[in-house]
Symmetry: C7
């Protein structure tokens, strides 16, 4: 199963125009369509929602969304980017 | 739906002279007219208000504003910039 | 309303020799006359006072000042600079 | 037992396409197949699970996993990388 | 009142061989004679005392000093430098 | 007792293939054989154990070890490296 | 009392092979013989002891020492270096 070794940032190319998840410091989570990125992991997202997780009264974990539209995330806040599934 | 891939910072150009929201570390939120920016995400905003969110006695989330006029935000404080709607 | 796009730092030139407010990390606020700055947002201020806000016994927000004279603020502490009004 | 002195980053080459563990700031632990890395220790992982450790009611330490698929971790979050065993 | 615009760091030249105050992160305050500095705001101080402020039993703010002699302060710890009065 | 002045990083050369201790931010301590390092103090360690110190019921300080095998530590987490004794 | 203006780091040269004190972030204090340094304030110390200060039952401040031998301190942890007395 030979495969060429790419730089991590290069793998974001396959997620352009696809939905990705961004885990950011201070417990923030964003879901949006990746419109652009650079080598600092600055990210441009469209149709972004910020996701808040909480437990409801029955102890189930639920999500609440805040719609943000188009955002530019400063790269130094990013912990990891969860790439779109490659089908 | 082909589209050229831009750097995230480039998307701020379309918001020049428009109202944007800036989410900053330490829970600060600014709304102002984007007058300028650079590659560090330093931002120049005019007609800026700093927004404080709180719950009133009935549990409703309310905003209070402090008018700041023109400010220069140092880029390393920025978490994300919420761009103006592109109509 | 055409306008040339400047870098944020450039807007500080108009505040030279004028009173500005500096919001700094760890809840510090300085007011002084801007004497100089550089691209890191290092700032030289004259006639500086550090401002402490507190609530008095009647719940009013009041300010106390400490006069510091001339100071050099290291730029990486700055959150934002509130520019002088341009009249 | 002579041995040439390599840069630490070079030792990641032997773990390409192998399972590694990544210990990240803010108590995160990832396990995944190393697909790529760069000199900042940015990492591309496939088949990643985030591992949460907790004590059950009998005091045993147990793991829970969240499957994340493919992720790009920003290098400045990494504390250390636990390399694949070299057999 | 025309005046040439200097870089903030340049204003430290006038305080060479004079007593300055250095406010440092983590609530430290140093007073010493400025013997040297560089563009990172690394500072060399002679006859330095570290100043601790506290309230005595009557509620008065008092200072205690620890004599440190000659120190080199790493610039990234500095919040601001309080320059010597220019007479 | 004349001696040439070396850069601190150069002193790690003598510890290559020897056991060193690494004190890392967030109270971590590693012991392992130094296999490589670079100018950022990124470190490659073999046969590494992470050491946890605790007090037992009699008040004695005891160590517990977790074997990690080969790890790459990102240099910006390092506080200090305790070099191997030079005999 | 004319004197040439040196860079702060240059003043460490006079402390080579002499005992210095290093105040480090997270309340650490090291005493050792300065064997080397660089422009990042990375430091090589020999015969180092880490000093812990505490109050005994009579309220006296006492020191406890842990002998560390030779260490390399990563410069970004340093708050200040207390130079050897120049006699």
């Amino acid at each position: 199963m030979e495969r060429k070794h790419h730089r991590p940032i290069d793998y974001l190319h396959n997620s352009i125009n696809k939905v990705i998840l961004i885990k950011v410091k201070r417990n923030r989570l964003f879901r949006g369509v990746l419109g652009g990125f650079d080598e600092h992991l600055n990210l441009y997202l469209e149709g972004t929602s910020q996701i808040f997780e909480y437990q409801d009264e029955d102890g189930n974990i639920r999500e609440e969304h805040e719609n943000l539209g188009s955002i530019v995330v400063r790269g130094d806040n990013v912990i990891f980017v969860n790439l779109a599934n490659q089908e």
